[in-house]
């Protein structure tokens, strides 16, 4: 399972998600798209033009799940399925 989170330096929801994943010992990549233009472009392409952060992708079992916002319920469901 690979988790990628896109956020900005000023987004409290992004930091909350980051803390929440870290507290659970979940590994993830985090990109500040306000300073990393390449990653901003990548997020735009993967999300199909999303303009809100945090935006996360979870690659698991050959699928790519996309989560908009700090959606604990969705994250919990996927993490539970993977025994986290």
């Amino acid at each position: 399972m690979k988790i990628t989170v896109y956020g900005t330096m000023t987004c409290a929801y992004c930091f909350a998600l980051k803390d929440w994943l870290s507290e659970r010992g979940v590994k993830f990549e985090y990109h500040f798209i306000d300073v990393d233009y390449k990653k901003a472009k990548e997020m735009f392409e993967v999300s199909g033009g999303q303009t809100a952060v945090p935006f996360s992708t979870i690659e698991h079992d050959g699928e790519l799940e996309k989560i908009v916002g700090f959606d604990r319920a969705k994250f919990n469901k996927i993490l539970k399925e993977h025994g986290k």
């Binding site: 930091f15 798209i33 999303q50 303009t51 809100a52 604990r72």
Partner: protein
């Protein structure tokens, strides 16, 4: 979360909840604060705060939220990442049911604050997260050198307009009736209107968000002449007021708008359940007032616990 017993459960870790937590934990009570989203509440999502006493130069919302948290935790308050879904009476107080287990407490403080109201106009819902936002601090960076509109006429709308102009090319500010912001904000806004960075549409009502893949325009209507105008924009920010976070709360009496009714001690219709800050009926929705409510509620809870 296993069923844990504490003296006080505080629902919501905004300025109200974190102040009450600091007071009660410092008094030696076992306190757990439940937070379903962001510790610091609305403060954490505000760019800059200039009217909270003690910070003469102003303070960033994220920094103030972090300090509120540190100070509460320093005295032993515990913060849990969970959302409350019910409060039920029990033999020795209350059971607070969350989306991650239950907690038993002798008293409960509801400090769940409020969430942004939306206009409800066609197109708005479709473009949320794709051009429509309620958080300039979070999403403003997406509109670098682009045109945005802000809808709303109170402090939050003007404050966020002042923040957005630092990033975007231009802001159309759409105000349905009157501008009701503080003098200092209005003076700064005036300067931006003079310089052409902001165009004010006062007496206009937004009627539709237009776009294909993403937002391309906002249609507005003049309230008197009934004429329509189309503003070419890339993003829309909505700041038209707040709704109470009480959808989950069945245990206590609410007013017609859903805010919690309290007495002078900030006690609700159920003895032992208290409420304060943005979520209570009649609050002024300011950080200093929320902090005041947090302190007042903590003292009332201390009194309540000493009697039972």
């Amino acid at each position: 979360m296993a069923n844990k017993r504490v003296d006080v459960v505080i629902v919501g870790a905004g300025p109200t909840g974190l102040t009450a937590a600091l007071y009660l934990a410092r008094d030696g009570f076992a306190v757990t604060v439940l937070e379903q989203l962001v510790v610091g509440g609305q403060v954490a999502t505000t760019n800059r705060i200039e009217n909270y006493p003690g910070f003469a130069e102003g303070v960033s919302g994220l920094a103030l939220a972090a300090d509120f948290r540190t100070q509460a935790e320093k005295f032993g308050a515990k913060i849990k990442s969970a959302g409350a879904i019910d409060i039920q009476p029990s033999q020795d107080g209350f059971v607070v049911v969350t989306d991650d287990g239950e907690l038993t407490a002798r008293a409960v403080l509801v400090a769940t604050g409020s969430t942004p109201k939306l206009t409800g106009i066609p197109g708005e819902k479709k473009f949320i997260g794709r051009g429509v936002s309620t958080c300039a601090t979070c999403d403003g960076a997406f509109y670098k050198n682009q045109r945005v509109a802000v809808v709303g006429g109170a402090n939050a709308a003007v404050q966020e307009t002042l923040h957005l102009v630092n990033m975007v090319a231009h802001v159309d500010l759409v105000v349905r009736s009157e501008l009701k912001a503080s003098r200092v904000l209005l003076d700064q806004l005036d300067k931006l209107i003079q310089s052409g960075q902001v165009t004010l549409y006062q007496g206009f009502t937004p009627i539709e968000v237009v776009g294909g893949e993403k937002v391309s325009a906002l249609k507005i209507k003049n309230n008197v002449r009934k004429t329509e105008k189309t503003l070419k924009i890339d993003g829309l920010f909505v700041f038209i007021g707040r709704l109470p976070n009480t959808g989950w709360l069945r245990a206590v009496e609410l007013d017609v708008d859903g805010f919690v009714i309290v007495n002078n001690d900030l006690e609700t219709s159920v003895p032992g359940i208290f409420a304060g800050g943005d979520v209570r009926s009649g609050s002024v929705k300011q950080i200093a007032a929320a902090v005041g409510d947090g302190a007042a509620a903590a003292l009332s809870i201390r009194d309540y616990l000493s009697k039972c």
